[in-house]
Every structure is written in C-alpha cells, then in structure tokens.
C-alpha cells in the first residue's frame, strides 16, 4: 500500500451546535475508496467516543462538560456499501477455493 505521506488537520466533529475539534494525523493514501476518510482507533480514542453500531450513534464528551451526539447517515452508508459491492462483480469466490479445512 503506497502512502503519500501524512498531514495533521484540525477536524471538527459537529452536530447541532455541539462541536469538538481535535487534531488528527491523517495518512494520505492513493487507494480508491468509497469513503473519503476512515476514522480509526487513534482519533476514535482521542475523541473519547462511545459508538453504538446498532443505533448508529456516537457520543463523545465535549470540552464544556456536555455530551456531543453524532448520528450516522444511513442513506450514505447504504449507498457506499452498495457501491463497494457493485464494483467487484467477480468478488464471489468459487466454493472450491474457499476450502473447508
């Protein structure tokens, strides 16, 4: 995987006037992706986030002691998910290649 480099950018997690800005060190990669950004463990922990994948909600502590809430965008999620599947029509592996042992 070719990494072009990294860049530190101030990123704002915002929803309905509650916002929190953190500095994230992004690795910039050339890989085509249906997502623009993938937030991994480092910034996830830096933000102190709790994530419910069932309710698609993220909660994180704000600087003033409150709790910020971000809801996932289901529409975009499904679009991206479908797009990622579509682009690999031959992705289904023949049964004999999977192997049972």
């Amino acid at each position: 995987m070719h990494v072009r480099g990294y860049i530190t950018l101030k990123t704002i997690f915002a929803a309905e006037k509650q916002f929190k800005a953190i500095k994230i060190r992004y690795l910039v990669v050339n890989a085509p992706n249906s997502y623009n950004i993938v937030i991994g463990r480092p910034s996830f922990n830096q933000l102190g986030t709790l994530l419910s994948t069932k309710f698609l909600v993220m909660k994180y502590p704000l600087d003033d002691g409150g709790v910020g809430t971000i809801k996932g965008d289901q529409k975009v999620a499904r679009e991206c998910y479908l797009a990622s599947l579509k682009l690999r029509p031959s992705g289904r592996i023949p049964a004999r290649e999977i192997g049972t042992n």
């Binding site: 704002i12 950004i37 996932g72 991206c80």
Partner: protein, 257 residues
C-alpha cells in the same frame, strides 16, 4: 417596441455593410498583396479595456458560436471562487461606466453596467483557459453521474464527496440485505424513502459527516478496527491542499484489499 425594432434593423444593416466591406477588403488584399496586415479588421468597441485576443482568432468567433463545456455552476460563482483563491489577478478597473446594451445588468468581472457576468464570453474564455491549463478543477459538468442532477446548491453540498470506487474494508456477507445482488439493491433503496432518524437495519456501517477547513466532508467511515486514520488522496486534493504540505511517512500500511 417599434423603436427597438428600428434600432435592431439599423444594427443589422450596419453589420451587413461591415461584412461586405470586409469581403471587399479581403479581395483587395488578395489582389494587391498584403501591405498592411490589420487593414481589414474594424476597430472593436471594447478595445483597450482589457487584453485583446490574437487578431486572427477574432474574426470567425463573431459569427460562429464558440463551444464551451457546460460548467457545474454559474460563471459568477466560479469567478468569485477564482478571485478568492487568487489564481488570476482581478481585471483592471474599467475606463467606461457602461459596456453593452443592457443597462440593468451588472458585470462582476469588469465592475461595470451593461452586460451580465454569466453571458460574458471573455470570462468564459479565461475560465476555459484555466481549466485547460489544469489550474481550475472540478467545475466541468458531466464527468460523474452524480453531478448531473440537482441545482447549484445541491451540487455545492456534494462538493466534499468523491466518486464511488472500491471499499477497503471487508464488505459482503450477510449484512446489508443478504447474498443476492437484487436483495442488496432493494435494501439500499428502502432507505431513500425515509427522511431522518435511524430505521431498523441489517448492520449498516457508521458513516458520518466531518468538517475540515470549512469543508463538510461526507462519507466518513468510523472503523474502530483500523489502526490508522486514513484520508484518500482524492479527498485531500479536493480540499485544496497541495502535495507539499504532506510530511514523509516511512512506515508501511497493510490490510487494504
């Protein structure tokens, strides 16, 4: 109304006689050889106010409409963004107050009354040049399907998005509608009817919107299993950052498919 018609007729007559004269001139020139090169070109009305096009390009364009790639937004808005990003310097201040026949229209490029910014052919050419030289990106319409629909505002909202490619996490399996492609498509379509809120789902991924440098960036995937924060190069370029700002990374990254 009659006045307008009569004025228009006058104008047409003038043009015709000009054209005749030009034809005559060309003939004369052909027979007697070219003594003065620019003899047959009539003085232009907007001469001197700004940079003139090369003379040989000028004549045919008055009659044959030039082709321009349709742009994603109005010229006015592109101009504003071009000025903000300081790709080209602003046009020189005008010498006249009115350029053109429409007294109510205002041209932001010249800062004079008389014609509308959006109809202005020199500006179109300037922008065309910029696009061709690669200084201006993202404005030509019709490259991606998703850019084709919607109004300016919708398109602006979509600016932060990138086109769809492949996904670099594990996808497929039982989540997201099942095994057959029809059922998955159907599953993806169901959501289009719902405006807000979370509906019961088959393990949808967590996708949110973030803000970086005044850009709303959609399609941000929260992947708690990934050990790095990834920004795609496409998105990086799109938020108007240059490659020089990148710092060298000497490690490796694995796990992408």
């Amino acid at each position: 109304m009659e006045e307008i018609i009569s004025r228009a007729k006058c104008y047409i007559k003038g043009e015709e006689s000009n054209a005749e004269k030009r034809v005559r001139d060309v003939k004369k020139k052909g027979s007697s050889g070219s003594e003065r090169k620019n003899y047959d070109i009539p003085p232009s009305r907007d001469q001197g106010t700004f940079k003139r096009q090369p003379e040989r390009d000028r004549q045919p364009r008055r009659y044959a409409p030039e082709h321009f790639t349709p742009l994603m937004m109005r010229l006015e808005r592109i101009l504003k963004e071009v000025y903000e990003s300081k790709i080209i310097p602003e046009a020189n201040p005008p010498r006249t107050h009115i350029m053109g026949s429409n007294k109510d229209a205002w041209c932001k490029y010249h800062r004079v009354r008389g014609h509308d910014t959006n109809d202005y052919i020199h500006l179109k050419r300037e922008i065309k040049k910029l696009i061709q030289s690669g200084k201006l990106r993202g404005y030509p319409r019709g490259r991606h399907d998703e850019n084709r629909r919607g109004t300016d505002e919708v398109r602006d909202n979509r600016r932060g998005e990138e086109n769809k490619h492949t996904m670099n996490t594990i996808s497929g399996g039982f989540a997201g509608g099942g095994e057959s492609s029809a059922s998955r498509k159907n599953y993806a379509r169901q959501i289009m009817l719902i405006d807000e809120g979370v509906v019961p789902h088959d393990d949808d991924p967590m996708v949110i919107t973030l803000q970086i440098l005044n850009w709303n960036i959609k399609r941000v995937f929260i992947d708690t299993d990934s050990s790095a924060d990834i920004l795609t190069f496409e998105a990086f370029e799109r938020i108007c950052l240059s490659e020089e700002q990148l710092q060298l990374f000497q490690g490796t990254l694995s796990g992408f498919t």
